[in-house]
């Protein structure tokens, strides 16, 4: 099943046949994200050879001191594009292939004046507005992925009945169904794809596993050890 961020879904596409089935509950995707081993940072120069940095995440905020105010990351782009509509510049995420990582940073000055600024990782120092601040979005060109995380909520009768952040190796189990992190939107990271499995016979399979392991260990290890002890005693 595929779920868009901030949407809930209960339809699953069946394997092999192009048919959908509805689950008795909905799954809502709060957020999908990829976590990396080497983090990306927003760095703000606050004075001569002085700077502050925070991990690049939506909602991250830097206190720049009494004179400069605060800087807050309000949006992140993987492939930043701009368009002009009715005389206003609008930034948007381009779903086509390409990479132009950018941050939208909101700077609130002490007198309450708010300005918005975009910071690009590929074009350091490039800025469309004149400010005293030097902002930098630093992130390595290649980073090893540490996790794919989907923050899920199970909704039954308009109530949230379960919550789990699922990752590869950490599936969600609810109402007889297992939800596995399977794939994702590799362009804009707007949706996640989960594999939904219902297997009532699973415990039969696991019982088989146990029987096979115990049987083999008994036949090849324990039986010989036990008979050795018996020989020693007699």
């Amino acid at each position: 099943m595929a779920i868009l961020e901030n949407h809930s879904e209960n339809r699953v596409t069946l394997e092999d046949i192009e048919q959908t089935k509805e689950l008795p509950f909905h799954i809502e995707l709060k957020d999908f994200r990829i976590e990396y081993y080497e983090p990306a940072y927003l760095e703000v120069q606050t004075g001569q050879a002085q700077s502050k940095k925070i991990p690049a995440e939506v909602g991250g905020e830097i206190d720049l001191g009494n004179e400069l105010g605060t800087a807050k990351i309000v949006r992140m782009f993987e492939n930043f594009k701009m368009a002009i509509e009715d005389g206003n510049t609008i930034a948007y995420e381009d779903p086509h292939p390409g990479s132009n990582p950018a941050l939208e940073v909101q700077i609130t000055q002490p007198d309450g004046q708010v300005t918005t600024q975009w910071v690009f990782s590929l074009f350091p120092g490039h800025s469309h507005v004149q400010t005293k601040l030097q902002l930098k979005y630093s992130r390595p060109a290649y980073r090893a992925i540490s996790d794919y995380v989907s923050e899920l909520q199970v909704i039954e009768n308009d109530k949230v009945v379960a919550e789990k952040d699922i990752e590869v190796n950490h599936p969600l189990h609810y109402g007889g169904y297992h939800f596995y992190q399977s794939s994702y939107d590799d362009k804009a990271m707007q949706y996640t794809i989960l594999q939904v499995v219902s297997d009532t016979g699973l415990y039969v399979v696991y019982a088989g596993y146990w029987m096979l392991c115990i049987g083999v260990i008994w036949l090849m290890w324990l039986r010989h050890i036990v008979s050795k002890f018996k020989v020693k005693r007699t």
Binding site: Y37, A144, I145, S146, D147, Y148, E167, V168, N169, P171, H178, Y180, S182, Q195, V197, L202, V205, Y206, Y209, L212, C213, V216, I217, M220, W221, H224
Partner: protein, 263 residues
Amino acid sequence: MEIKYTIQGLLVYMTIAAYLLAFVITILRQHKLGHIIYLLGFAIAVCSFGYRWYHVRHVPLQNLFEVFLCLGMIYPVSLFCRKALRVGGYAADMLIGAIVLFPAGFVFNAEPQQLPPALQSWLFTPHVAVYMFSYIFMAKATFQAICQLAGKNPKPGENLLGPEEATYRIVCVGFPLLTLGLILGSYWGKQAWGDYWGWDPKELWSLASWLVFLGYFHFRYMFGKKHPRINSLWAIAGMAAIIITLLWVNLSRIFSGLHSYAT
């Protein structure tokens, strides 16, 4: 083929040198001295594995380099076989250790890698470690099988089993480990992807080697007394399947699948 000019590389080369020296000295019938140098080589192998562990900061069993580094610590297996099973073959073990470390030293890429999401599970270490153990046992069993085919018997004074019986005993130790590896892998697949079996090439070949050894047991039980040499052929065939599982599947471009992490 490349030489590694790092501390890691140096440790690997020192281990290989110690194993080869121990092998030559043992062949020249200086058993005591050979044993001491073998033990020394093992100590260096442990340092090398420990250094790698410290360096990459996760259990170093991720790629072929790390796996072969682990296989190089063969000494406890020889000791166990000698004391508990009455199976010899120390000289052969030294050679197996050196052969196993050779690709780690000269062929495989030692660049440290971060664990991808699929490998971040508590099953990672037991699944791979159990397989490593069983592979070392099966390699020893294969040596005994070859001894039987070549007609080499241990000397009467050594209190060791004949090669056919020795092969059987070691396969008996290794086979449950092989089974555990297969089942842990299958359980892990269920946890990570929701499928306990995906017909991935590595899965397929590990099942094939498991089945060959299963065939060995059945054949030996039914016809083993009549055709003892064919028993040994079964064991050697099993080792061939293991080599395909361990190397060919990862290195060849014909196969690509969930296990093709380690090139």
